[in-house]
Assembly symmetry: C2
Homo-oligomer: 332 residues x 2
Amino acid sequence: MNISEFAEIAGVSKAAVSRYFNDGYLSEDKRARIEKALKETGYSPSVAARSVKTRITKLVGVILPKLSSESCARVTEGISEVLNAEGYQLLLVNTANNNSKEVESLELFRQNRVDGVILLGTVFTPLHQSVLSKMHVPVVIVGQRLAGFNCVCHNDRGAAYALTKLMLEKGRKKPAFIGVTRDDLAAGLARWEGFEKAVSEAGLTVPKNFIETAKFEMDSGYEKAKRLLSGRELPDCIFCATDSIALGAMLCCKENGIDVPKDIMFASVGDTKIGRAAFVPLTTAHLHYKTAGIDAAEMLLIELKRRDAVSRVLQLDYEIIERGTTAEYETV
Amino acid sequence: MNISEFAEIAGVSKAAVSRYFNDGYLSEDKRARIEKALKETGYSPSVAARSVKTRITKLVGVILPKLSSESCARVTEGISEVLNAEGYQLLLVNTANNNSKEVESLELFRQNRVDGVILLGTVFTPLHQSVLSKMHVPVVIVGQRLAGFNCVCHNDRGAAYALTKLMLEKGRKKPAFIGVTRDDLAAGLARWEGFEKAVSEAGLTVPKNFIETAKFEMDSGYEKAKRLLSGRELPDCIFCATDSIALGAMLCCKENGIDVPKDIMFASVGDTKIGRAAFVPLTTAHLHYKTAGIDAAEMLLIELKRRDAVSRVLQLDYEIIERGTTAEYETV
DNA sequence: CTGAAAGCGCTAACAA
DNA sequence: TTGTTAGCGCTTTCAG
């Protein structure tokens, strides 16, 4: 049914119906008649037709690297909560860690289809920059900071620093690092820098073979740990960029009869469920993922209202959660 | 820019442009001119305007109870993979376990906005039935079976049966059960039935206080286990409806000095990451979540093409993964 | 406060 | 093959 048919049934004009749905002037009489007809017919206006006129879609595009990653899912939950409450719907794109698909989706959104975009960023290429800067709708980036754009990000550097320091202060002298690609400025580079800072402040140096770069997966953490543990000398603590990586590495230790935390301490960033129930509960830095989603959505909402040119960066702090993987070892 | 302006720039008619984007007849000459202009201007047609005419949105609504649940995320990944490849986008609604929001979203989608709906179902009320049957677009339900609708579901009963049987065959005589609400016909009722079947086939009965109903969370599993363990007599094996619940319950055992699997064996359904890295690796039934998503998407795609009246039910089988929580205890 | 009427940007039937 | 033209369902002036 379209607006004309419905208007006829309700016994009012098309314009009255339109006004009913768009807070226009309307007498109580007409309003009542429309409401009655609404109940009878179940009519609801076509979103598409409305968008043609108003250029408003009430759609927000969300681009994320991996849906089944707990952190991404949490961010998206936060986004969804805020945006749904404001009558927006999420257009979700899961790039499956395919960087070029990120750009594709941006291109797709650049045209029309959405009122705004939230991008859970990973690695930014010049292509990203160029597409992003040509965007006609407001964009908020989550998890990364990109000059000139609205960002909600975490204190990756601080978290990595604090965790590494924690282990070194417990007397560990041979720290190792399993990170992710430093092309990822947040989870890769910043966490690396934090680790490095703590290490050098402690007057230590890390041999090259104590540094590994993994993928964002447990299996990869396992593999890298295997290499780490195959050397002549073992590290006595390992900082991992993510909980999954840490868990994989810990599994490798377990298999090789290496005791955690006695022989090797572990700490990583993320505070995902997996770390809590691990065979040795994982010391981690809680990042406020859901809050990041909420804040990003609110930032977007603000942009949607008053589009000013100034871009903002919001950094959320972390929280250290000490668990078994960094427990002091009691000398008997 | 709209189609008229673009047509002018390209030096062709509106119709030619429209045909270019809709596989109509077009001479090579015009095609080339349009492509050239496309590069220069970056024009792309308005999806909304197109939808008004064609009544096709290329949007599929996905309704799910909890985004940050690994199983839901996996299903959605599968859906996304298939649908994106066919040029569809996902309109995601996270109901946050709010059953009435499920109905609301269906209502929202019932009107227009989407070409089809995939519903990751939990508990169906009569209201669901009524809204679903009034849907104007094809619907596929994942994870539940609802008479008269297209469903992709798991063999919950079989998985629960097999896991319980596995523990009983290892000589356990006092099985307990931590499930979820039986209003959830799949994860609740069917898994309960599977458990019951194995138990009664073994000639055992389960005392009332060995049956608990938890929420879909680790904490809830913990709480319920606490009650279970506070009784005079302890169970010697516990079947849990989900991995999270099992993990929570196991954590409770650990705190109380109860050995897993020696004192109590555990098994549950889901095969989520969390179970693999647990302090005792969890015996579980792998449900093919991603495959379910893929199959559901394909089912929807078929419906989208030829809308016949017949509804189909696709049941995916499980796979038992034996790990430490059901390891034989060696009598020394 | 109301309704008629002119579009929004696109598609598709039609005649050429 | 092509261009003209009449809508798709809605919003929004504008004159009442």
